[in-house]
Symmetry: C4
Subunit: 194 residues, 4 copies
């Protein structure tokens, strides 16, 4: 399978997820500023998820740079990742509409955790397909971000029942950690070319 | 007609179908885990349809690998396939919202059957256009999956009125059969290159 | 402006329009076949519009085959066409939900007429940009379909107030006329290459 | 990062935003012309936003013509722009549903202002990356449109509380100013090639 169609399909799905998420922010009926107030948590959760999907798109893109041939298992691992990402709008909407209450905040973490695991599986499949001298393995060698993220989510999920603000703080912290694009892969690619 | 625009359009439509389907999973009003309970069948039917659309995208992609020139009839056969696939979110939502009751489960099978027939028509058109030494014909020579699927759907549709769980079992079974990507075409293509 | 991004954007918008249109077919609450009955006109109008958008995508694609350089005015003429096409889901939904009553059937014709005019403007701009030996002009020389369609719509719109079935018959007739892909452009292109 | 995937993702998101915006124009229940009357402001605001998104797509496209290498900061500046553009359907729907009353008309201006600022940041990042002889800097040298637009929005926002028609007039005026595609970049590119 050609990489370009694989990339284009992933991009398409992520672009649609990121955009339809805004549909959860329903146009209010009143015309006053007050009418917007209940939407503040919805807007904040939308912003957080927008950043997360941007991070996924960005890292997905960098990871695929190291791939030359897409195999069947990679394709299904990728669809598995897209499946969990497709649940982000639902989890975001539920969390926002309920003003970050415990259960929705925990579910949001579950979806993030499952997406992180799906991403990890895809990454491992690519590394395995590249054999011993795997470019991607070299790039994510000291992948502390990739290893720390699921750990943070796993803490944040039960935390939501004690204080959802701690959970939210963890979700925001992980997003901030990732906001810096994954320069490791860029570096390895650059050194490869040199 | 160039193949790339044909592929891009099909990918776009399938990516949108797979993504808007999640909009049928409406954000519940309550914030408890109980509020999610009525969504379980909706979630399960969403998962099943996500896998089906992934299978269609995958097989569609493999099939087009053997195509060099897109003709007018192929284009309309492809739109016909996309038409039935575009009804999957509706059938999925109806089946999920009614907790897999008989009529919606039967309709789901009808949509799957029509999509399978549309796929078969497209496949036959491509084979016909390739003449006697058709690469695709060779690839799908012993196409027992392609032949068995409509047969399973045709059994599952009336079965839904006797026991919808048998129908659902058949839908899941067909999906599992197809989950393995269509290696036949890959093999023929590979042997062609060798 | 490169033609490929112009094509990709047009394809993207048409693919989204054709797919979100199905969202107007709301999942019914009942689980019986009776619950689907009110959806029959919605389904029929969806089918008609799906065919129309397929025709537009197809003809748009053929027309762009003759274009080498996209100019600013072409870009806006194209956005003008996409604007009217983007109103097709609304007109389709209104017509379907009101069981093809007069006013919605007339409005459907208005949207088709405006889209046809927008298409004509785009076509004329492309012909003008190609100068005296315009390939597109040669291709659509005896363009009776393109000339007849707006005429049919213009008749169908007032007819809707006398009998909407005549209007609908005209809409279906025009769609059938166009279902045959525009071989004229293919022929001129083919003879050009020969 | 390759420019093509960057462009394709931006195009995808803008194409989806421009298209889902029409979903805010809900199909009315009545079948008379009267039933459409409340939709007139929604339709007008939709038209205005469609033109604005067309302008952004067009200018974004021209700007990227001068870019050869997409950097991490550009990517995030671009996602920041897409974020504000993704709020256009919400602001449009709120303004249209409330018949252009003051607060929604002001919020519409805020979203336009934020998008304009995000566009400006992206532009400055690209100029900075191109170094002293920046092609884009040369192109937007006397960028009075880019400088005037945020100024107009900043006036229009408070004006909405005095008379929303003045605000709307300003929004329409800015759109008209931009409707002419950005020939400056085309000129510089053309002179570059000459």
């Amino acid at each position: 399978m050609g990489k370009s169609r694989f990339e284009a399909f992933s991009d398409g799905v992520i672009a649609i997820i990121i955009t339809i998420m805004v549909l959860e922010m329903k146009v209010p009926h009143g015309e006053s500023l007050q009418a917007l107030r209940p939407l503040i948590p919805v807007f904040l959760s939308y912003t957080l998820s927008f950043v997360y999907l941007g991070i996924y798109w960005n890292n997905h893109h960098h990871m695929l740079h190291t791939v030359h041939k897409v195999t069947g298992p990679m394709l299904w691992a990728n669809l598995h990742l897209l499946f969990w990402l497709s649940l982000v709008p639902f989890a975001t909407g539920w969390m926002g509409e309920n003003h970050f209450s415990s259960m929705p905040s925990a579910l949001y973490g579950v979806v993030l955790l499952m997406a992180a695991i799906a991403y990890y599986i895809l990454q491992q499949l690519i590394i395995a397909s590249q054999g011993p001298g795997s470019l991607l393995k070299k790039a994510v060698g000291g992948d502390w971000k990739g290893r720390a993220s699921p750990f943070f989510y796993a803490i944040a999920i039960p935390m939501a029942f004690w204080s959802q603000w701690v959970s939210l703080g963890l979700y925001v912290a992980v997003a901030l950690i990732w906001l810096v694009p994954d320069r490791r892969i860029e570096h390895v690619l650059a050194s490869q070319e040199a």
